[in-house]
Symmetry: C2
Subunit: 255 residues, 2 copies
């Protein structure tokens, strides 16, 4: 008798997000799914981990069906608790998503979705982050079904240690998706990152944000694949070292 | 008449931290310093940015002397507000620290200190994160004085776009520091990442953390330099792509 693969599903849009349920349902075809997600949306939470307060795990009913574990913490917290406190370390793959909106270029350093997958990799598990590249009317079906096929493949082939996959799926019907491209992380530039307003009492306050002014995608980048209607898979690792600049820096002979 | 370099100083230990004031005082020899830091400690906040609530900037007195801008947000928020709302875009270098405790290996992906420098790089500025590798009785003096020399050099030479420096300084008197090493990001492994306890009402709660069981430093890594009593400078970039694994992944011919 073979045991089914054990899959931890999490996200950063929170336990009640539709994308999480769509992912869970598709992955139920591949293995036994455990859902552990933040009790509320934690978008743009980056790779934060909660060290200064105790965490709680609560089993909740999910409006899209079934139950899951809600955690009063970040996506990374959910991964650590999921693997070690809930699954007893017996986890074969971590899948994070399906995020509402793309995670491309430098944006992925802010992304709770990608950070959850990074945490999976740090915990020694193969890990995948999945996003639908649309904020308005996402259809999670194509992304969920593709991820199920990808997870089955990752379970069969494995991933190198400290490596994760960042998947972005265009918001198109399956028949209109023009294939899968293995990409590199692209670059984006923003403008007007800060907007100043005044409250009714005349005090300033600020909103962060900014419009993308340039998708410096270039051939082979994640953003370029999405613009072409393809699924983008960027393999990521945890080593941020700029080996290129290290050589120059050695020449500075700092003291 | 030459203008003095404009330096933005921030951190993740909060505006009242001693390490922030030590850094500011040392950098005052190099240029005009603007201090913008979180109103409270934001350690392990990762590269989070605040998109869902308005931010406030308040000028506060710093107990170590002088004034600074306190922000109700993350270190990354402080960098964006500092550069664009407070300095009007006229910022020559972003320096984050001095952090209480090391930022080595995979830990730097959680680090608010390093994330603030990443945000500086995303905003197109040279950026440096500085940490003292000790939690107990840090002496910020050697790290502050070294950083002042490093910042002067960075202002003279520049850094490549999208590149930042992660500096860790051993907690030793200057005479005992055995030089400067240009390093790569190392690896650390933890054990016992989750501790379960029961509250007085018998409900479970959890603390995250865990002891470092292995500093898989190896020659040339950040952790190895610190263990040898050297200052570690790791050049980092924002591109997380694992180009090595991309080749294998292309061979999977995914659909």
């Amino acid at each position: 008798m073979t045991t089914r693969p054990r899959i931890l599903v999490t996200n950063d849009d929170g336990i009640y997000a539709e994308g999480l349920a769509a992912l869970r349902d598709a992955l139920a075809e591949v293995g036994a799914v455990t859902v552990v997600a933040p009790e509320r949306p934690r978008s743009a939470s980056g790779h934060a981990i909660t060290l200064h307060k105790p965490l709680r795990i609560e089993t909740v009913r999910i409006p899209w069906g079934g139950e899951g574990c809600a955690v009063n913490g970040t996506p990374s917290d959910c991964v650590v608790l999921g693997i070690f406190a809930i699954m007893g370390g017996r986890c074969d793959v971590v899948v994070s998503g399906i995020n509402l909106g793309p995670n491309l270029g430098e944006d992925l350093t802010y992304s709770g979705t990608v950070s959850a997958a990074m945490e999976g990799a740090i915990c020694g598990k193969p890990a995948i982050a999945v996003s639908v590249a649309d904020y308005e009317r996402p259809d999670y079906g194509p992304a969920a079904r593709f991820t199920a096929r990808l997870v089955a493949r990752v379970l069969a082939e494995g991933l190198p240690r400290d490596t994760l996959l960042n998947v972005n799926v265009p918001n198109l019907p399956e028949a209109e998706i023009l294939g899968v491209e293995i990409t590199r992380q692209g670059k984006r530039r923003y403008e007007g990152r800060v907007e100043r307003r005044q409250d009714p009492r005349g005090r300033d306050y600020y909103w962060l944000g900014g419009e993308i002014i340039e998708d410096i995608a270039g051939a082979g980048s994640d953003g370029d694949a999405i613009m072409q209607g393809k699924i983008s898979i960027t393999p990521l690792h945890l080593d941020l070292t700029s080996h290129a600049f290290a050589k120059t820096l050695k020449g500075w002979a700092l003291r």
